[in-house]
């Protein structure tokens, strides 16, 4: 890195993947789900109701472009064209601004459906820890939402908060989780529930002689306590599943599990794509039930 160049510690790994074992051209129904969130955007393509490919990237400064760019990654890698996709559903904060979507569905419904696919139909409680909010969701065996709660008016306990801490500590965001356990004793959680104040408090701890790892541990613990207070309001029922970018932060996940006294279900899939995956699966069901009329109705 050249001198003066600012390192972006917050920048998480963008990824694009397709299942080479599947031939989308042989599929009867190809659907896509586009999740335009406040921090990240994902496009998921399903063929005949199975995950085929996804692209996960940073959300840009405009929702239509973010949606287009996210889907472009999968199209490019698979040789697919937009017109090969039968049905597209938009979700996330930018759901109504996905230019090629036939329908918009909230990310709450989509995350529940995605978690049902990723974690199986025993999943009843979902914690979606997104970029600017977190949601506690309860669902039935089909992945249909039966109850939900969202955090209010504050980004603490969310992905953006973790990005701020990564920059403050000058530690790559993917290392925060593991490093939070590299402490001689577990510190008290930072007390602030606001990202800005938490940042000030973290600075204060550093000045008081806390190691970086200890500050990170205090922040991870605060985040865990915050979301646990949310999820306990709807009641934790096994099986329990975590979606969203923070699900990749072991420092938060393990602390949540400890506070709840339960273990989150594991998945082979990228937890960050749950919303887009759920949207694509909804598209598949709509096509099955309504056929071509679904696209006309939309």
């Amino acid at each position: 890195m050249s001198s003066g160049e600012k390192k972006e510690y917050w920048r998480w790994q963008e990824s694009c993947w397709i299942d080479e074992s599947k031939d989308w051209r042989a599929a009867k129904i190809v659907t896509a789900g586009i999740d335009v969130g406040s921090v990240s955007s994902q496009a998921v393509v399903c063929v005949d109701g199975e995950l085929y490919g996804f692209n996960s990237m940073r959300t840009g400064n405009n929702s239509p472009d973010s949606a287009t760019n996210a889907l472009a990654g999968v199209l490019e890698k698979s040789g697919m064209k937009l017109e090969d996709i039968t049905y597209v559903i938009g979700t996330g904060y930018g759901r109504v601004n996905v230019p090629f979507a036939h329908k918009a569905i909230t990310e709450i419904a989509c995350h529940a459906r995605g978690a049902n696919y990723m974690g199986g139909n025993k999943i009843r409680t979902i914690l979606d820890m997104g970029g600017q909010d977190c949601k506690a969701i309860h669902c039935d065996e089909k992945g249909k939402v039966t109850n939900f709660l969202m955090n209010d008016k504050c980004a603490a306990g969310t992905g953006r908060g973790m990005e701020v801490i990564a920059d403050l500590m000058q530690i790559p965001i993917a290392e925060l989780g593991p490093r939070s356990f590299d402490v001689d004793e577990e510190p008290q959680a930072v007390s602030s529930t606001c990202v800005v104040f938490a940042k000030s408090e973290a600075l204060g701890l550093l000045k008081a002689g806390y190691s970086k790892n200890k500050v990170i541990a205090a922040y991870c613990q605060a985040m865990a306590e915050r979301v646990v207070s949310l999820i306990e309001r709807i009641g934790v029922e096994n099986d329990f599943f975590i979606t969203g970018g923070i699900a990749k932060n072991v420092g938060v996940v393990k602390r949540i599990e400890k506070l709840l006294g339960t273990t989150a279900a594991e998945t082979k899939y990228d937890s960050q794509i749950a919303g887009a995956l759920g949207a694509a699966l909804f598209g598949h069901t709509l096509m099955l039930k309504q056929g071509a009329s679904a696209t006309k109705a939309a």
Partner: protein
């Protein structure tokens, strides 16, 4: 409905202009009222215009020295309007006892709004279920009458008061008639329309309001009811005049068909029972009206009342619009939620502040709608 409710909308949006024009036209006094338990009949009999104080739904920084930040947003927003001089045309200010937060907002208003010429605190009993309540309220209404006689410098006759009762009762009756249209499938009257009509009744000259209600009621049968209703919602809470929120809710696949709020049905639901004694007529009406949570103990009469409203208006779900820090409503919430849900009415809880985040609220409303329908997705 486009056009038909425009007069109510204009009154709502230009309420200060309306009150000033009324004052210029009639020469009468305008009174800022701070609760729907205010016996407007007496103010009207005295030739005054009762104007319920509403907030402006915009950030303000003037109430902090006067009342706590953890008082409800509606109290703070209301007081802010007084401190900012937006009700400077009001000679009087009055509060009938409901909650302590409102009372402190009132006290601050009467002490710190320089244009106040007179103020009156009406200590209505909160335990309206007590066997002594009506007698006590009778005495207080009588004292209020005497005080108002002092303000206007002449006696208020029983005939004056009866005329006040008739005017307000007619308003209540007409609003009930209007709200009957909300029982329809694909109702001709939306939640936004109904809000404009009921909230303006709280600050527009009642006779003028009655005239407009009659015009609208005469026109309504000619209108087609072709609105796709979506899911039929009920709203529950204290004051709510957040039109943009209501419009958002009705734009995403629902219709608000009834409410239990003091900006809506709780204000006008029951007429005064006409008795020989006009003071008893007025006093009893306020003791018998659908209760605010501050006046609903030891029995929770409003729980069955709310459920009946939901059932009568075929509401499929209820949305609690909880003013942040409103303890009386928050205290009722868990039991009322259980009561509704046990009777097949799912609920959603939203916390209101002076300004509300429409985007996040929209997600909650849409997700709630998805839990109530969207079977084709599974």
């Amino acid at each position: 409905m486009s056009g038909l409710f425009d007069q109510f909308k204009e009154w709502y949006e230009k309420r200060h202009d309306y009150a000033k024009a009324w004052k210029a036209r009639t020469g009468g006094q305008v009174v800022a009222t701070m609760c729907t338990y205010t016996p407007e009949e007496i103010l009207i009999a005295a030739g005054m215009l009762p104007v319920r104080v509403l907030g402006a739904h915009e950030p303000q920084n003037v109430t902090e020295p006067h009342i706590f930040g953890m008082f409800c947003p509606f109290c703070r927003d209301s007081l802010a309007q007084g401190l900012l001089g937006r009700y400077d045309y009001c000679e009087g200010v009055t509060l009938t006892q409901s909650c302590i937060q409102y009372r402190q907002a009132f006290n601050s208003w009467r002490m710190h709004v320089p244009t106040v010429k007179w103020d009156y605190y009406l200590p209505m009993p909160n335990e309206v279920q007590s066997r002594f309540a009506k007698a006590q309220h009778y005495a207080e209404i009588k004292k209020f009458r005497e005080y108002m006689e002092g303000v206007i410098g002449k006696k208020l006759s029983d005939a004056d008061l009866k005329r006040g009762v008739e005017i307000v009762n007619e308003n209540r009756r007409l609003l009930r008639e209007l709200f009957e249209y909300r029982k329809e499938t694909n109702p001709r009257v939306t939640g936004v329309d109904a809000l404009y009509a009921s909230i303006t009744a709280q600050f527009v000259d009642k006779e003028e309001h009655n005239k407009e209600l009659k015009r609208v009621l005469a026109e309504l049968p000619k209108q087609a009811n072709n609105r796709e209703e979506g899911i039929r919602f009920m709203t529950i809470g204290s004051e709510n005049d957040d039109v943009s929120f209501m419009a958002m809710v009705e734009s995403v696949g629902s219709t608000i068909v009834i409410d239990d709020q003091c900006s809506g049905t709780r204000y006008f639901w029951n007429e005064a029972r006409i008795q020989d004694d006009v003071i008893a007529t007025i006093a009893d009406r306020y003791c018998e009206r659908p209760a605010c949570p501050t006046k609903d103990y030891p029995a929770h009469t409003r729980f069955d009342h709310v459920l009946k409203l939901a059932q009568d208006y075929n509401a499929k779900a209820a949305v609690f619009l909880q003013q942040k820090f409103c303890d009386p409503h928050e205290g009722d919430y868990p039991d009322l939620k259980r009561h509704l849900e046990a009777n097949g009415i799912p609920t959603l809880f939203l916390e209101f502040d002076i300004t509300n985040p429409l985007g996040p609220f929209r997600i909650r409303i849409e997700a709630f709608l998805e839990t109530l329908g969207e079977e084709e997705l599974f």
